[in-house]
């Protein structure tokens, strides 16, 4: 969020003297790039129940804006994100954490599936125009459809109260998300432009269920918050 604020603030100063009177064309973009987990979403700290263990991944989507009055419009984004999956170090960190928490003779963790979500975000956008450059600033909110998060299965030995394995189940569902973005487009002609964009999206995420746990010790995940910063390249069709 801090990065978005800085980008927005500096961009506003730079473009403050730019032409804000010209009517900007509405546009639709196709874009792709990197989606970086931030904060607790990328944390691999066993002791933090909100640690997501998410990884840097890819994002692809459709973005655009419809201008309602001069440079002011409504922007929208529909995108897909892959934030990777747990690797060996992650599963070992969980196994070691559970082994310590339970004082078990051994703990084994199996992790399966990936972090996938779809974002549908809408919000006001203001664009600054300077010659062939357009700076788009947007605040947005909407729905995040979490289609999967990794599922973990933990087995302990030497703990009579937890003989069978327990599961942190794959989470999926809809949740509210919000964020902001700053993008810079360069006009290739009347109809086409290319651009770069930085976006931040955050959400409280979806509920996570744990079952099979007959003795609760240590890490207990009940919700998986999402924090993503995305840097993308796109091509836009203006209309």
């Amino acid at each position: 969020m801090k990065r978005i604020f800085i980008i927005g603030f500096l961009s506003t100063i730079i473009f403050a003297s730019f032409d804000a009177q010209a009517q900007v064309k509405s546009y639709i973009s196709l874009y792709g790039g990197f989606s970086n987990p931030e904060g607790s979403y990328k944390s691999t700290d066993y002791n933090n129940n909100q640690s997501g263990f998410a990884k840097k991944g890819v994002t692809i989507g459709v973005d655009g804006a419809v201008y309602l009055y001069k440079n002011l419009g409504i922007g929208y984004t529909f995108s897909f994100q892959d934030q990777g999956k747990l690797n060996y170090n992650d599963t070992y960190a969980l196994a070691l954490g559970y082994q310590n928490s339970y004082q078990a003779d051994a703990a084994s963790v199996n992790a399966y599936d990936r972090f996938h979500n779809w974002n549908l975000l809408v919000g006001p956008q203001y664009s600054f125009v300077y010659k062939d450059f357009i700076l788009d600033l947007r605040a947005s909110a909407g729905v995040i459809d979490v289609t999967s998060t990794p599922e973990t299965e933990t087995f302990l030995t030497g703990i009579t109260q937890q003989v069978d394995g327990f599961f942190q189940r794959r989470s999926h569902g809809y949740c509210f998300g919000y964020g902001g973005s700053a993008g810079l487009r360069y006009k290739l002609g009347d109809n086409w432009s290319v651009g770069v964009k930085g976006s931040y999206v955050t959400s409280d995420g979806t509920k996570v269920n744990v079952d099979g746990q007959t003795l609760q010790e240590g890490r207990l995940v009940t919700r998986m918050p999402i924090h993503e910063f995305q840097t993308t390249l796109g091509i836009s069709l203006n209309f």
Partner: protein, 183 residues
């Protein structure tokens, strides 16, 4: 033309998203083991006793010195001992590999069982000569700590003639404190 290009790009984007959605979801596994100073695998399951008794005892009458270790947890107990003949009255112990012979080098696996109305640890099978070994790899006679490994199996002949084998493998004792006594 523009609409055609846009359609192509949209279709490619959807295909890419679907491809990413279905990318590698293979299971990743890891196991963390206890770091307790005495541990072993009993029938291939890690076991680390929470009650441990380790002694080195010198018997002046027989001039023998016996290293003995007992660990107990979860209704299971493992005991092993090594006796040195013509030993000196010092808190140290000779390093080496000691094959189980049922006489001066012994090992026994116990389980807690109901006997005469109470739960007691009873020997489970026998560990005869050649069933395993104890190795002492390091000893600090000043700090009185001892390190090494052990493994053995214990065989029980059941009522129907079949034989059950309990395997105690990957046993290790690491800087395990011991008590020295001289009688």
């Amino acid at each position: 033309m523009n609409k055609f290009r846009l359609s192509v790009i949209l279709i490619l984007s959807v295909i890419t998203a679907v491809a990413i959605q279905s990318c590698n979801k293979d299971t990743v596994s890891a196991t963390a083991y206890t770091t307790k100073p005495l541990q072993a695998d009993i029938d291939y399951v890690t076991w680390a006793p929470d009650t441990v008794s380790t002694t080195v005892t010198y018997d002046a009458a027989s001039q023998t010195k016996t290293f003995s270790c007992t660990g107990t947890k979860s209704q299971k107990r493992v005991l092993f001992s090594v006796t040195l003949n013509s030993a000196s009255n010092t808190p140290g112990f000779t390093l080496g590999i000691y094959p189980i012979d049922g006489s001066v080098v012994k090992a026994q696996y116990y389980t807690q069982q109901l006997s005469n109305g109470s739960y007691v640890f009873l020997p489970t099978g026998t560990s005869d000569s050649g069933s395993g070994a104890v190795e002492v790899t390091a000893i600090d006679s000043v700090k009185k700590t001892i390190s090494g490994t052990f493994h053995f199996y214990s065989r029980t002949t059941n009522g129907d003639g079949s034989v059950t084998t309990n395997v105690i493998s990957s046993g290790e004792f690491t800087t395990l404190p011991y008590v020295f006594t001289s009688n």
